[in-house]
């Protein structure tokens, strides 16, 4: 069959295959789907083109994120069974077709087609793509799972860093009246149509690099000098395997779900509000001392820390352990939120640095989670379990903005808020982080009754069951 090269059995690496080819294969996927964080670049252009509201255009992104969580949770077991190559190929097809259907929707002024394309189809591509390399990376890097998943998930943060300036430059190419340097300039609908077609084709080609490069290690493979006993001898690292169906029956899964949910909710609280927040914190007599260009620089600074945190903290967790790393995110996070609320208004440097470290913890929470799952549930169906865990992200995507916007709406009107108006929201986030901190502390090794019988996990991985 023409597509048989996608099958798991055709992706088993020959002896000697370099495992350092796997991280760029994973990055090729995550750098492309990370574009999802750069939708604000053409948001105003779509509002103008469809003559609709920001809320109606924002629904496109919301559908995509909901579909990310749902498809990762529902299709996780298929991703595990079919293998990384088939999953990456499916992700590339959904992601690229999402852009092309979205482009058709913009060209024909049919907003529902953009919902269906970028939101629904693209969202499925996001979900499959996000989890597709995780299990494979963990199997190739049993000695450094945090480093490996950190590299891939850093790519998701890096995807927005690439897509934002690239989209601006492409829209300027397609619309001579659009000035990418002017924040008030808005591109035409036809420029966004051409942008969507370009991104759809370009991303498909880059993702094919991942498809044709990724391979799974042969059964029983370990890196040279690797001592499995030394890894499983560490506290909180299991040598046993747990299926995805059993994992969601364990308290450990739900404690980690709560910890991730709380960490993401708190981070989104700042990310969602970053630009107006820095201006409001340094407002006096109705005027802010922070210019809009400086506020935009603050948002870019946070995106750098979001990306760097994914790599640095996840890699660090290989040495200090996953549970202590989450203690850092949630415990130090609480202290930083208190600092932000109490002394953040005293100096822009204090405000910027504290917020940047908080956002690095937000990013780190995402990239450390797959390695934490590996430690608790083994490598057997870690991708599928990760897919189910990502529903915490979808839930936090609703809770975080609701908390911060709810408090700010009660305090006053946008453009007139000051630092004190943020305190109730920030102290609420301290409480949210405290809940996550307790949930993380309660995580213990998984009970033996949930473990797979010896041999069954290997048979599944080889497609025999």
């Amino acid at each position: 069959m023409a597509l048989s090269f996608l099958d798991r059995e055709h992706t088993v690496a020959k002896p000697g295959y370099s495992r350092w080819l796997i991280p760029p294969a994973a990055l090729a996927i995550h750098l492309c789907i990370g574009q999802a964080y750069a939708t604000s670049v053409y948001k105003n252009a779509l509002v103008n083109h469809f003559e609709s509201s920001l809320t109606a255009i924002g629904v496109i992104f919301s559908i995509a994120i909901v579909m990310l969580g749902l498809s990762a949770a529902v299709l996780g077991t298929w991703v595990e069974r079919a293998g990384p190559r088939a999953a990456m190929f499916a992700s590339a097809c959904f992601w690229a077709s999402g852009f092309l259907v979205g482009a058709l929707g913009i060209a024909t002024s049919q907003l529902w087609l953009v919902y269906l394309g970028y939101g629904f189809l693209g969202g499925i591509g996001l979900g499959i793509g996000y989890i597709s390399p995780v299990s494979t990376l963990i199997k190739w890097f049993p000695d450094r799972p945090g480093l490996a998943t950190g590299m891939a998930i850093m790519g998701f943060g890096g995807g927005a860093l690439v897509a934002s300036p690239l989209s601006r430059q492409l829209m300027a190419l397609y619309d001579s009246g659009y000035d990418p340097a002017d924040p008030t300039s808005v591109a035409s609908g036809s420029a966004v149509t051409s942008l969507f077609v370009t991104l759809g084709v370009g991303y498909f080609l880059v993702m094919m690099l991942g498809v044709f490069t990724v391979k799974v290690p042969p059964p029983g493979w370990t890196p040279a000098g690797f001592d499995a006993g030394a890894v499983t001898a560490k506290p909180m690292v299991s040598a046993a395997d747990v299926s995805a169906a059993n994992a969601i029956r364990t308290p450990q899964f739900w404690f980690l779900w709560i910890a991730l949910f709380c960490n993401v909710t708190a981070g989104i609280g700042i990310l969602e509000q970053a630009a107006p927040m820095i201006q409001d914190f340094f407002r006096s007599g109705g005027m802010s001392s922070v210019a809009p260009t400086t506020a935009a620089g603050f948002v870019a600074f946070l995106s750098l820390f979001n990306m760097a945190g994914r790599f640095v903290w996840s890699s660090t967790s290989d040495y200090i352990g996953r549970k202590p790393t989450y203690v850092l995110y949630l415990g130090v996070g609480m202290v930083l939120y208190v600092l932000l609320a109490t002394v953040g208004h005293l100096s822009t440097m204090i405000f910027v640095l504290v917020a940047a470290v908080i956002i690095s913890f937000y990013g780190g929470g995402f990239s450390t989670a797959p390695a934490y799952l590996r430690d608790l549930f083994g490598t057997f169906q870690v991708g599928a379990i990760h897919g189910r865990l990502l529903t915490a992200w979808s839930a936090a995507g609703i809770a975080g903005p609701l908390i911060i916007n709810g408090f700010l709406d009660a305090q006053g009107t946008p453009g007139e808020l000051v630092a004190a108006d943020y305190r109730p929201a920030l102290f609420t986030m301290v409480g949210v982080l405290a809940v996550g901190f307790v949930a993380n502390i309660l995580i213990r090794p998984v009970a033996a009754r949930f473990h797979e019988p010896a041999g069954s996990a290997g048979a599944f991985a080889e497609g025999k069951v």
Binding site: V12, A13, K14, P15, G16, Y17, S18, W20, L21, P24, A25, L27, A28, L31, G155, G158, A160, L161, V162, A163, S164, P165, L166, V206, L209, T213, P218, A291, T293, T294, A296, G297, F298, A300, F301, S303, L304, V352
Partner: protein, 44 residues
């Protein structure tokens, strides 16, 4: 099942270079552009 033929490590070097370049060049472009937009934050 026959033992698969090992892949010679030296033949993988060009592939390693190309695959890493495909992902690091766009990432470097994104980083450069982002750092440029961060400058106003510290210029004031």
């Amino acid at each position: 099942m026959p033992e698969p033929t090992p892949e010679p490590t030296s033949s993988q070097v060009p592939r390693l270079v190309v695959t890493w370049l495909v992902v690091t060049v766009p990432l470097a472009y994104g980083l450069f552009q982002t750092i440029r937009s961060v400058i106003p934050l510290f210029a004031g």
